[in-house]
Each structure stands twice: as C-alpha cells, then as structure tokens.
C-alpha cells in the first residue's frame, strides 16, 4: 500500500475551479488522485464475516481480480435492488436534472469536481440503469444518456460512491426528495458483491461482528479503558464511580459508539455520561458484547448492517433490561431511528421507556424502546433534576454542529441546544444555512474517516470548517460541540487543518463539566484536566 500523502496547504487546496471540463462527462475517465480515496480491503476482513471475493488488491491496480462474471453480478444486483427498494427504482427514473442539488454537496463545494454534484454522482449509475433497464436507453443508447457497464465505469463508481457521505443534504433541496444516500448505499452493496469494500470500513465491520465494536476492544480492554476515565473523574471530583458491565436485571442498557471508549475527545464525552448516570443513581449497565452503537455495516450493505445491529436487542433481551439508552452518535441514530426496529424488532420483550428520575414517558420511542441521551438529559434539565454550574465552561465559547444523520435522518435539533444553553454561558450558532437540516457534513462520514484520503476529507469538510471559522472570527468561538463520535474524531483533524484554534467536544463533556455532583470536591480542572480559569473570582451560580 502506498503511504498516505499529506494534503496540500489550505491556501493551495482552496483554489477550486468550479467550471466543468470541455469534454462531456462520459468521456472523462476516472483518475485516482492520491489522498482522495481509501485502500481496498484486506481479504481477512471479508473472510471473517463471510463476504465474497476476498483477495489482496488495490484500487490503483489495473486488475482488481474481479470474478469473470462480475458484470452479470453487478447487473443482476441492480435488477434485484430495483425490485426491493422503491427509493432506488424511483430515483433512477424521476430526476429532471434541474441542478438544485449541485452546489449543496460538501464534496462538490470543496473539490469543484462535477462528478461530485449529487445529480451527476447519481447519473453515473443512472446511465447504466438506462442502458440495461429502460426502453429508451436500450433503443437510443448514448442519445438517451445511456452507457455500457465497463470496468472503467465500475472503477468510476467506486471512486465517486466513496466520495459521498450519505449526508442527505442534497435530498433536502431536491424538489422530489431524491436522496443520493439511497443510491450510494446501493452502489456500495454492489461493490461488496465483488469484495470491493474499503479497508477502513471492512476492518471495523469484522471487528464489530466478532468483538462487539468497531475498534476491536475486547471485554477486558473496555473495562480497563473505562477505569482510566474513572480515575480521572475521581481526580477531578473526588468521587469514585463504579459502573457495571453485562449486569442482568439492570433497568437500562446503555449503548454508545466505541469511539467514546477510546481516544480523546470521545473519552471526555464518555466521562460526562459516567458522571451523569452516577449522580442520578441510574440503574443501568454497559455491555461488552453490544459495545457498539455505530454501524459500519450500514456503509457495506443492509444485510451487514442488520447482522451487526442484531446485538443490541439480543443483549437487551439477555440482560432483561426494560429499555435502552443510546449515547451520542450520528449514523448510529440514523440506524436506531429508521432501521433497527424494522430489521431486528419487534422489541416486545422491552417496556415503553420511562425516565426513572422524572417519570417522563418517551412516547416517541414507544416501539423501538431506545432513547437518545440528549432527549433523556434535556428532560432531566427541564425538570430541574440536575444542579448545573455553567460558569465552569466559561473558558469556552461554544458552537454546535448538527450531525447529518441526527438532523436529516432523525430531526433531533433542539435537545442538544437546550442542554448546551444550560451548561455553558457562551453559545453562538453558525450561519443558518449551515446548521440544522442544512448542516454540513464533517466530510468524513460513512467510513471515509481514514488516514490515506486526508485531502478528500479536508475538501469535504471545508464548508463546515468555513462556517466554524466565521463564528470563531465574529464571536471568538473556541469549542465545536456535537453529538457524534465520528465528528469528535474527524472534526478535530478538520479544525487543525482549517481553524486550528478550535477544539471539538461532545455535548455531554460540557454537561460533565457543569454538573455539580453530590459530595464532590471543589473542582480545579475541567474533564480534560485543564485548569478552570479565574476560579477565585467566580461565584457559584
């Protein structure tokens, strides 16, 4: 494998030419530019989960070692999916190419590559659909916008459908709601019929399948990672917390992305959860088996996603909990909110979630029986169940990044904002066209958060970073809060590149800072063990 190339400097990268080339797009061959694509998967990852065509290969190879009947596999795969998904069938047929989506895609804004316009990304697939599945395309070929499926076309798909983060921003602006994510998902399913996943997706999938989480943390590593956090919490607050793992009979199973268990700033968010649950005296348990809320299977195929997601309900059933509480994560919540019950439900062995602290019934989660922690915490604050000292976050000027999935695939917009406004005194929104349903992707979602495609990530994250820069310049913002584990990892790199003095945190890290715990000692530092500023002058609120 080639070494990861460093992205060019920001001032170079931002020289973006939005003018399409002279040649029609079908005549422009795909070029695998270093820094803009991920490595092909190693065979062992496919073998571990029983996916086809495991072999050593690289996207830059001339020969991808595809089976000889690869074309039939792809075309049959398309035909099968057209019959299974109305979205796919419809979105192949009804686009009018009005172009409203074009400059809505963060990858197009950051690269200027016309094949990153959502409409053209979809046309890469539609052109083949027309050739083999529509009368007009069969009769008139190129004149009807149809083209043959060739190996070069397949490579082009691979390059560009791994430059879409399924963020759905285009679908917000499309007059027919055409969602490129639906098309990208189908394309990625097709790649996986031929063993052409990326290494960065296939690895976490294999880890998650066998070990329960993407990072491949084994049970004892999970507990010891959390113990490190508990030591830090004790140092900061003087309080010793003793969470439980795989405990039968707990009221609540807590599931969060494994990113929260490993590496900052995710671990700070995790400390926030631990402190909150301890302060509430919540009867809950962690699971080392269902130790992943996220789902890289979702970036592989629906079947793989379902296979990984299975563990959450299975573990809830085994442990006999009443309901499930989920941590901060973007695509995890797309999956929980829109897919989990359909795949692996009905969860009739669970009870309708009720907050044991406030008695609030979470009626919006009454069949899936899984509550988002921001819903849970917002309810606590509203009922005055938490003692909060927002001045402990006074060194932070905070803005909030809506994750693609939680905003456009769920609609949880107000809860995290409500929490933030209660736990910190300085909160500033980014420009309105870059937040809520119009939020911009971090540029690294759907498993594109690898190291070898850093230029692509910095390009895709440019619109997000630019909006952060705006509030940094106008309000002195120095902290970018979010409710997504992938954001916490990827936005850190993005900020370093574009807006170096802004740090990244989860909402529950700031809650952990502000939470006044029973019997805690006078806090000297925040959860990052950085000294709280100007403590002597501050009065408790």
């Amino acid at each position: 494998m080639a070494k990861p190339t460093k992205p060019p400097k920001p001032e170079e990268l931002v020289k973006i030419d939005y003018n399409p080339p002279e040649k029609p797009w079908m005549e422009v061959p795909v070029e695998f530019k270093p820094g803009t694509f991920c490595y092909g998967t190693r065979p062992k990852y496919l073998e571990e989960v029983g996916l086809p065509n495991p072999r050593e290969w690289s996207p830059t190879d001339d020969d991808w070692k595809l089976p000889s009947d690869w074309k039939d596999i792809v075309l049959d795969g398309i035909g099968e999916r057209l019959k299974k998904y109305r979205s796919f069938q419809l979105f192949m047929d009804i686009c009018v190419r009005c172009g409203a989506c074009a400059d809505k895609c963060h990858f197009f804004i950051g690269s200027g590559d016309p094949k990153n316009m959502p409409v053209l990304r979809a046309e890469l697939m539609r052109s083949v659909y027309r050739k083999y599945f529509s009368t007009g395309g069969k009769l008139f070929g190129n004149l009807a916008g149809a083209r043959e499926l060739t190996f070069d076309v397949f490579k082009e798909w691979w390059y560009y459908f791994y430059q879409c983060t399924e963020c759905r921003r285009c679908s917000v602006f499309c007059p027919y709601g055409i969602d490129t994510a639906e098309i990208t998902m189908m394309a990625r399913e097709l790649f996986n019929l031929l063993g052409c996943n990326t290494d960065w997706i296939a690895g976490p999938v294999a880890n998650c399948y066998r070990k329960g989480n993407h990072l491949g943390l084994e049970p004892h590593t999970i507990t010891s990672n959390i113990e490190f956090m508990l030591d830090d919490i004790e140092e900061i607050t003087g309080i010793k917390i003793e969470p439980t793992f795989n405990r039968k009979g707990a009221e609540i199973l807590f599931v969060t992305p494994s990113g929260d268990l490993f590496g900052d700033p995710g671990t700070y968010t995790c400390m926030g959860y631990l402190m909150l649950f301890h302060e509430l005296g919540l009867d809950y348990t962690w699971s080392t088996y269902a130790s992943e809320g996220g789902n890289f299977g979702f970036f592989t195929s629906m079947e793989m996603a379902k296979r990984l997601n299975y563990k959450i309900y299975a573990e809830a059933k085994r442990l006999g909990v009443k309901w499930i509480l989920g941590g901060e994560c973007g695509h995890m919540w797309r999956v929980v909110h829109q897919y989990m019950d359909t795949w692996n439900g009905p969860a009739d062995f669970l009870e309708e979630p009720v907050s044991p602290i406030t008695g609030t019934k979470f009626e919006n989660a009454k069949t899936t029986k899984m509550v988002h922690i921001a819903e849970f915490t917002a309810d606590l604050i509203k009922h005055g169940k938490l003692k909060l000292d927002p001045s402990r976050n006074d060194h932070l000027k905070v803005t909030y990044h809506d994750s693609c999935n939680t905003s456009r695939g769920m609609g949880i917009l107000e809860e995290p904002r409500y929490i933030l406004k209660n736990v910190c005194n300085h909160f500033h929104e980014m420009p309105e066209d870059t937040i809520r349903e119009k939020t911009f992707c971090c540029g690294s979602g759907t498993g594109l958060n690898a190291g070898e495609n850093m230029e692509l990530r910095m390009r895709g994250g440019f619109p997000r970073a630019n909006a952060v820069k705006h509030v940094r310049d106008s309000h002195g913002v120095n902290m970018l809060a979010n409710i997504c584990a992938i954001d916490r990892a990827t936005l850190s790199a993005l900020m370093q590149y574009w807006v170096p003095d802004v740090e990244v945190c989860g909402v529950h890290e700031l809650l952990g800072n502000a939470l006044v715990m029973t019997g805690e000692k006078e806090r000297e530092t925040d959860l990052r063990l950085e000294p709280l500023p100007g403590k002597e002058e501050d009065e408790d609120v």
């Binding site: 009807a144 007059p175 066998r210 507990t223 019950d341 069949t367 899936t368 899984m370 509203k382 107000e414």
Partner: protein, 330 residues
C-alpha cells in the same frame, strides 16, 4: 449538442405535421388517430409506470427530516418539515406538490476571498418552475372549453380571470405568455449555467422544445394566424365524445399544435416528465417521522447470520472472568 439534437427533433415533428396535412392530406391520421393513440399511450404508460414503482416496496422508513422531531412535549416540533402523523405528511406533500417547498429552499453557494463561503438566496428556479407548472395547468384547464359542451362555469371564470388585462382582441391570456416566458427561462438556464449545461441530456431539452413549440403554435393560432375556432371545437368535441370527425378547412398550424401535444403525451410515460407522478411516491417525503413510535415492516426482511452472545462468551470467557465481568457459563 443535446440542445441542438432536441431542437432538430421538434423541427422534424413540426415538418411531419405540416407535410402530413398540407402535402399528403392525412387529416384523419393527424386529427384523430394520432391524438387517440397518444392519449392512450399516455394513460396506459403512466398507469404501468406507477404500478411498476408501487411493486417495489418501501423496506425502510426513510423520511428526510427537515425540522425538529416530535419528542418531548415541551419541545415544539415541526409538523410540516418533520411530520409525526398522516395529517402532517399530507401538509408536507401539499406544500411540495403545490408550492415546490424544497426548491424554495434553494441557495447559491459562492466561494469568495478569505476563503469565505457565502450562501445567497436563489429563488429564480423556484419562481420559474412554479410559474411554468401553474400556468401550464391553467392553460390545460382553459382548454377544457374545447372538449365540453356546455362549457363548465369554472372554465369560463378561469378564462376571464386569465384575460382580465383585456388587452387586444381576442383578449390576451396571461398564462400563455407566462408559460412561454417561464419555459424559455428554464431553457436558457440550462444553456448558460455551466454546471447545468454539463449535466443536461437531450432528454432534458426535448420536453422544453416541445412545450415551447406547443405554446408558440397555440399563441400563433389565437392571435396571428387565426384558425376557424368553430371547426376546431367540432373536431375536439368529437374526440372527447368518441364520435370523431374532421371538418375541412382548419388551418395547418392547428395540426402542428395538436401533433406536438400528441408527441408530448406519448413521450411522457417514458421520460423524466414522470416526476409528476413520482413525487407522490417519494419515500423521503411521504413518510411520517415516527419510526420509533410506530414499527415499520419490511416485506422482504429475512433472517441473517449473526454472531451470538454464546459465541462471543465462548471466545472471551477467561478474559471476561479476569476482568470481573459476569458470564453465563463459569
């Protein structure tokens, strides 16, 4: 390239109609057979297409949420952009279909010095789209006067509203002009915006030219090369009552108009124009955001191979015990 080709196709269609009636005198063919065939193709084609779409199920509940979900009672949720029930969905769809809500959101993204990305309001496409579709609809309704006897009152009302400016004789009908202007704008933006030109196919220009041809021939017929309107109505009413007859002496421009309309109708089910029906079926718009409240069933859901807890504990039992994690089998 695509534009030229489509333009050429429409010119050929015009010539076919002219030669057909003027040269070959095929009045029955162009006056009855082709219109009937076109309408039949349209109806059958649209039905078949919609049936084809409906046969593909909606396995997952995937609305694109464009506003706050319904969650805690004290948080105001967005009933139209993130509807939790059927009523909200109807509202959302009505806004989408009648007012092009999503297109109204359109923004123009610009990269300026700094670097600074600026998002400006960009409502021209929305405005032209809305003007085009609504005026087309009104023009269609106005044309009911050719297919009904007596003419329903609402058609007369629409007619007089449309001509309320009372310019010229016969009165200028605004929608015809708006239609032509809007469709011309849609064509020009396709040609002049580089990204839109880059993605445009012949299939994107063809309907535009067809409609420009239809509107132009209609306007010519009404204001300039006047045709015998009584005879036209004899023909159209005959078509509508399935007793077709073709009176002699209707000007050729009428047959051009009719043939272009027939072409559009026949082409419709095979083209992107099916977005008209498709928008109603779009699962990102027509589903309520209630998937945690109400279970959505996938008709082809099938069992998958999973990694069970037993297999997991089998592999990690010793490590779990050493870490003090409870296990099922000691």
């Amino acid at each position: 390239m695509g534009a030229l080709l489509s333009f050429f196709v429409v010119i050929v269609l015009v010539l076919i109609a002219l030669v057909g009636v003027k040269g070959a005198g095929l009045y029955v063919l162009f006056g009855t057979i082709i219109p009937y065939a076109a309408v039949a193709t349209f109806i059958l084609g649209v039905i078949l297409r919609v049936i084809k779409w409906s046969r593909s199920p909606v396995p997952f509940h995937i609305p694109t949420t464009c506003g706050q979900e319904k969650s805690l009672p004290w948080i105001k949720y967005n009933k139209l952009e993130s509807p939790a029930g059927t009523l909200g969905v109807i509202g959302r769809m009505a806004l989408e279909v009648l007012l092009f809500r999503s297109l109204f959101r359109n923004l123009k993204t610009e990269l300026r010095e700094g670097p600074k990305l600026v998002y400006g309001s960009n409502k021209w496409l929305w405005l032209a789209g809305l003007a085009f579709h609504w005026s087309f609809l009104i023009v269609l309704i106005r044309h009911l006067r050719f297919f009904t006897h007596p003419v329903p009152e609402f058609v007369n009302i629409i007619d007089s509203l449309d001509g309320f400016l009372q310019i010229g004789s016969p009165h200028l009908l605004m929608t015809g002009v708006v239609l032509l202007l809007a469709v011309t704008y849609l064509f020009l933006r396709r040609v002049f915006i580089p990204q839109v030109r880059y993605i445009s196919l012949p299939a994107d220009y063809l309907p535009l030219f067809l409609i420009i041809g239809i509107a132009t021939s209609g306007i010519l017929m009404r204001y300039f090369y006047k045709v015998d309107i009584i005879k036209v109505k004899e023909l159209t009413l005959g078509l509508a009552t399935f007793s077709p007859e073709v009176p002699a002496g209707i000007g050729a421009v009428f047959y051009v108009h009719l043939f272009l309309i027939s072409s559009l109708f026949a082409y419709f089910p095979f083209s992107k124009l099916m977005h008209m029906g498709g928008v109603f079926l779009s699962p990102t718009r027509n589903l309520a955001n209630n998937s945690r409240m109400k279970r959505h069933v996938n008709p082809w859901n099938y069992p998958v191979k999973v990694h069970t807890y037993e297999e997991y504990e089998e592999e990690f039992r010793e490590k779990m015990k050493n870490a003090g994690i409870p296990v099922e089998k000691e």
